[in-house]
Symmetry: C2
Subunit: 135 residues, 2 copies
DNA sequence: GCATGTGTACTACTCGAACTAGTACACATG
DNA sequence: CATGTGTACTAGTTCGAGTAGTACACATGC
């Protein structure tokens, strides 16, 4: 299975699924129109309850990353259709994440150049990392 | 009081204290040698239990942000003395935070330039934001 | 129509982290 | 010795995450 999950992680399992799928889409590893496993199949693969998968799918649909069709399945959405209802709030949260990251970098003794390099490295990791990629 | 805390936030209260103090130090709003309130005084100001403040102080000491002297009080540490015992782990966590931030930015429809601008803005916010600063 | 597979909704329950509350202890200072 | 500091411990509450099981509504294909 291309996604793994750690039940003992402090990050909730459903959040790990959300992050994993968002990452796979951003990396191009999942493409618009691709079908995701059913909540039950996915739950068996990850050895978790199907309600946890359902919760992740609901969050992903709110984020406009996937589209759910009752009775048929869930599919990766085409990017940039319509933005999620709370974009502004999400952007604000992202701002705060970056602010806290700078503060943390300061206390870890990282100088500005190092941290900016890390920032760009993270961008490259976000698109295509994880080893296998379309070349 | 220069720090406030929201007991209904999903982020734990002790974590809010940690972030707040780290931010105040990084912004220069708290300087090395400055004394922090006692756990009990701070707890009264924030209307929380003193054990919660103590937990925050312990985390801040592990991060080498403050120094605790039993019987005397807690003080802002001088920067760059000795690094925390788990720097590598913290840096790795920071890497992952940035990677997830890029993924989130992608799904919010932010283009690279916008996100890099946001990154630099966050740096400026981290040192000196919050309105009042030493000019 | 009916069986099957899809996501959804609901209840009941377990588990662990966060937090409260209260108390006791060890150390430094005056 | 009194006071103020951080620390440690127990007991209990609260809440979110997750499990388990079931039932429902919709789409598809036989």
């Amino acid at each position: 299975m291309w996604l793994q999950v750690d039940p003992r992680s402090p990050t909730p399992v459903y959040q790990q699924i959300v992050d994993g799928i968002k990452g796979a889409v951003a990396a191009g590893w999942l493409k618009p129109g691709d079908r995701l496993p059913s909540v039950r199949d996915f739950a068996v693969s990850l050895a978790i309850n199907h309600n946890t998968v359902a919760k992740a799918y609901q969050e992903l649909e709110r984020s406009r990353v996937i589209e759910v069709v009752r009775g048929r399945g869930t599919f990766v959405a085409s990017p940039g259709q319509r933005p999620p209802p709370d974009v502004e709030e999400r952007i604000e949260k992202l701002r705060d994440t970056l602010r806290l990251a700078w503060i943390e970098a300061y206390h870890l003794g990282l100088v500005e150049d190092e941290f900016e390099r890390m920032f760009r490295q993270a961008r490259d990791d976000a698109r295509g990392g994880e080893g296998k990629e379309g070349l």
